[in-house]
Amino acid sequence: MAVATVASSSAASRPKYGSMSRDRTWALRWSYFFLVLFAIFFLLPPVYMIITSLKTSNEISAATSPWWVYHPTLENYTGLLTSPEYLTFFRNSALVSVFVVTLTMLISVPAAFALSRMRFWGSATLATGVFLTYLIPETLLFLPLFKMFAMFKEATDIELINRWWVLLILYPTLTVPFCTWIMIGYFASIPKELDEAALIDGASWMQTLTKIFIPVALPGLIAATIFAFTVSWAQFLYPLAFTTSVDQLVLPVGIITSLVKADVYNWGQIMTGALLGAAPPLIIYAFLMDYYIAGLTAGATKG
């Protein structure tokens, strides 16, 4: 009896200690609820795309459930992957993206290093300027660019419109400012003593960049690379405006222009094309995510 009394009285005075973990439990429940909600929201379109890509045109237009495939077929996939047009789009996209990413990194990494570490006249203003450049929407730029290309043609007789390689010059106007800005942020988080130590150890600026800064800021470098790749792979407006012939098109524009014939939408192939087009970024993300880990600077300075 006495024991029971003690137990109940201690239980009565204890709820306060439990409230903390109860709050946490509820917070967890809510976060899972919303996470599941978001996962459904973002995964439904790709799932719908996969389902549609496995259907024939007849089944897509038939009045059956859009969420089920009754007669699965791979003909959309074989059709696209054997079509020279689609493979050209793919090749153009791949070439443009790889070159743009390389070019962007070659420009923005040294630029960010200079802006964040070498104090020169106007460096702070320049750094802000780089970011402001990014804020100008691309939709404002393509008309002046057209005009510039026309003037360039008049002056040199070199045609820039309807050439896929022109995108190599156009995309960096979008990627370089942002990647530079990301890298400035990452470089700024590297303690100043680290480059001073390298300086005393006898490293030149270039050696400090390649041997210290790039390895230490690798997660930032990967983030910037992913960004540059995504922008150049998914860019729609510039290729739509500047390229027209089928052999000059990149994937996003190619799918729209060649798979939509007048008002006939070949949905099965559009979905397949979009899915296949989304595969490279997905693969790259999955591959780079392993390296994209924070806390690489741990241990550089005091714990």
Binding site: P191, E193, L194, E196, A197, A198, L199, I200, D201, G202, A203, Q207, K211, I212, P215, V216, L218, L296, T297, A298, G299, A300, T301, K302, G303
Partner: protein, 366 residues
């Protein structure tokens, strides 16, 4: 190895003068510690020797050559930073050999030097670890190892122990001293901790407001400070400063603290002080260990007096007692068995053989 010579070094940031014309000669093999409160210019001075800061005026010589415009890498110096500044993506061995690899030393030579440094610092088993796998003390050893392998003319230490906990700091302090006794490289060491300065240095440079207050051996600074700042900065607990007047009465020279309390100046000191008898405001400087409990037999020059204690702090081997005297809070060190109690009176004795007299207006020790 080489000597370092600073002459009339000035550093200005815009209009603020961080370092205001300092002269300092550091001999070959010497261990010199720059010490002072934050913002006194000690770190700036060190960074100017390293070449990480431009100098606004004056000359810096390392090994007889003026290095004012020589970049850090060509000054043949090595620096240990407060936060270690280890390269996080390299192993301990790579960290230590980075400088040598940049200079394209032969592999065997690099290997030999790294092994030697690792042996001196006792970090052989850590060579393949990354900095993040090391404790603070181990990281500091690696940072020192990186300096040792380069075999430079001068070692520069910028508050290397500030990030360590108290116990480890004492341990690493001994470690640094041991390393210096082995490698004998000229060393400039910056710290704000006067205990570190006293224990490590051949000579201590006390800096304040961008100038050098005094340069001397730890013994000189402790026993013959030249200014009030040095007197108060060196030693813990700090020296007591008690407002007083000089009187030249019939019984000889004496220091009057209050109407009731005067201390006769010992004969050995009186001659030195006599000319200042007329001066108005003076401070009597007495270190806490020179205010003890009054014993039966007082040494010559020791004067007993009554004090009403405010607070006592038992330290174990001694008890610190605090009491007011002519507007100043005074600290004394008494035997733990002397019966000191909070708020109780105690009979104390002041050892005037070790007195200092400071001109309050100029801050100079007379």
């Amino acid at each position: 190895m080489a000597e370092v010579k600073l002459s009339k070094i000035v550093k200005k940031y815009d209009e603020v003068e961080a370092v205001r014309g300092i002269d300092l000669d550091i001999a070959d093999h010497e261990f010199v510690v720059l010490v002072g409160p934050s913002g006194c210019g000690k770190s700036t001075t060190l960074r100017m020797i390293a070449g990480l800061e431009d100098i606004t005026g004056g000359d810096i010589m390392i090994g007889g050559d003026i290095v004012n415009d020589v970049p850090p890498k060509d000054r043949d110096i090595a620096m240990v930073f407060q936060n270690y500044a280890l390269y996080p993506h390299m192993t301990v061995e790579q960290n230590m050999s980075f400088g040598l690899r940049l200079k394209r030393y032969p592999k065997a030579e690099i290997r030999k030097r790294v092994d030697e440094a690792a042996r001196i610092l006792d970090i052989k088993e850590l060579l393949n670890r990354k900095p993040k796998q090391l404790s603070g003390g181990q990281r500091q050893r690696v940072a020192m190892g990186r300096a040792i392998v380069r075999n430079p003319k001068v070692f520069l230490f910028d508050e290397p122990l500030s990030n360590l906990d108290a116990k480890l700091r004492v341990q690493m302090r001994t470690e640094i001293k041991k390393v210096h006794l082995q490698v004998r490289t000229t060393t400039v060491y910056v710290t704000h901790d006067q205990v570190e300065a006293m224990t490590l240095a051949d000579r201590v440079v006390v800096m304040n407001h961008g100038i050098i207050e005094q340069v001397g051996t730890p013994h000189q600074l402790y026993h013959s400070p030249k200014t009030r700042f040095v007197a108060g900065f060196i030693g813990s607990p700090a020296m007591n400063f008690i407002p007083c007047r000089m009187e030249n009465g019939s019984g000889g020279l004496s220091v009057r603290i209050t109407d009731q309390l005067t201390f006769p100046v010992p004969e050995a000191r009186a001659g030195h002080y006599r000319s200042h008898a007329a001066n108005g405001k003076l401070l009597l400087g007495l270190r806490p260990e020179h205010i003890t409990e009054a014993r039966q037999h007082l040494e010559p020059g020791t004067v007993p007096f009554e004090a009403k204690l405010d607070v006592t702090e038992p330290m174990g081997m001694e008890t610190l007692v605090y009491f007011p005297l002519n507007g100043a809070q005074v600290c004394g060190r008494v035997n733990p068995n002397a019966g000191a109690k909070d708020g109780a009176p105690l009979r104390l004795a002041a050892d005037l053989n070790n007195m200092h007299l400071i001109d309050e207006a100029s801050g100079q020790v007379i």
